[in-house]
């Protein structure tokens, strides 16, 4: 075991534990903060796997923008404290059955294929290489995605109108 694999296992433990704390915590603010830790660990993992551009984007977009958006919404809405202790466990059997079946099938697929367990060579794609690649091969997809972001912006603005604005524009409701 060398330094790279030690870092990988450490990051894997951090990400897994933070995500487990996220999905089990009762308080939404705690859940979001644990998820930020998980996403920062994922950003470091991306850097380890040779994607520094994606590591920066993961830290900026996921841990920065999306999670702060969640926090703002949680604090904005004055959510009534908890959702009830029983709700997590009343479907426990079905969840364990479905997730266990799917998980064992995936493990079977993974371990049945002997080619998936040889050590990878460390490699790094610089942001310049990544940008040149993405604008040469996937330029149309970049345009489509930017249009998708525009549509999401307009949709979020439309949904967040208040009633007075609606009547001012002559809306029905």
């Amino acid at each position: 075991m060398n330094a790279y694999s030690a870092i990988f296992y450490l990051l894997a433990v951090i990400i897994t534990v933070a995500t487990a704390l996220t999905i089990t915590s009762r308080n939404l603010v705690y859940a979001v903060v644990y998820l930020i830790i998980s996403f920062l660990g994922t950003a470091l993992l991306f850097y380890l796997l040779g994607a520094p551009m994606l590591a920066a984007l993961e830290a900026i977009i996921y841990a920065g923008a999306i999670m702060v958006l969640f926090l703002i919404i949680i604090m904005l809405m004055q959510i009534d404290k908890q959702e009830g202790v029983a709700s997590l466990f009343n479907q426990c059997f079905f969840v364990i059955a479905v997730a266990g079946t799917a998980f064992s099938l995936v493990l079977l697929l993974l371990y049945g294929n002997s080619g998936s367990f040889f050590p990878l060579q460390a490699a790094m794609a610089t942001p310049g290489q990544f940008g040149a690649f993405i604008f040469q091969k996937y330029w149309l997809a970049v345009e489509v995605v930017s249009f998708l972001l525009l549509v999401a912006l307009v949709g979020a603005l439309y949904l967040s109108r208040t009633n007075s604005e609606k009547s001012a524009y002559g809306g029905k409701r």
């Binding site: 060398n2 999905i23 466990f89 367990f117």
Partner: protein, 101 residues
Amino acid sequence: MIVSYGEILLLAICLFFMGMICVVTRRNLLMILIGVEIMLNAAGIAFVGAALRWHSLDGQAFVLFLMAVAASEVAVGLALIVYAHRHSGTLNGDGYNLMKG
């Protein structure tokens, strides 16, 4: 020389199933959205590992698109949740049982 692709895939699978469990068991709409985020993130880890495994940048390109889709999904999803909370006063997924908003 770092770990094998199978171990990266194992981590991604664990995270994906955690997100799935979160989506299925939690009642709060915000927690359901967080579970979807966890699943998307797990898919991203699998993509980046595959990009390293086959020395191809296509996997990293798809993670970039995945992040953009996740951002727009969260924006529209949170706007919908705020809208629904304003109209029904609850965040519990079981509380939405009327067709007429």
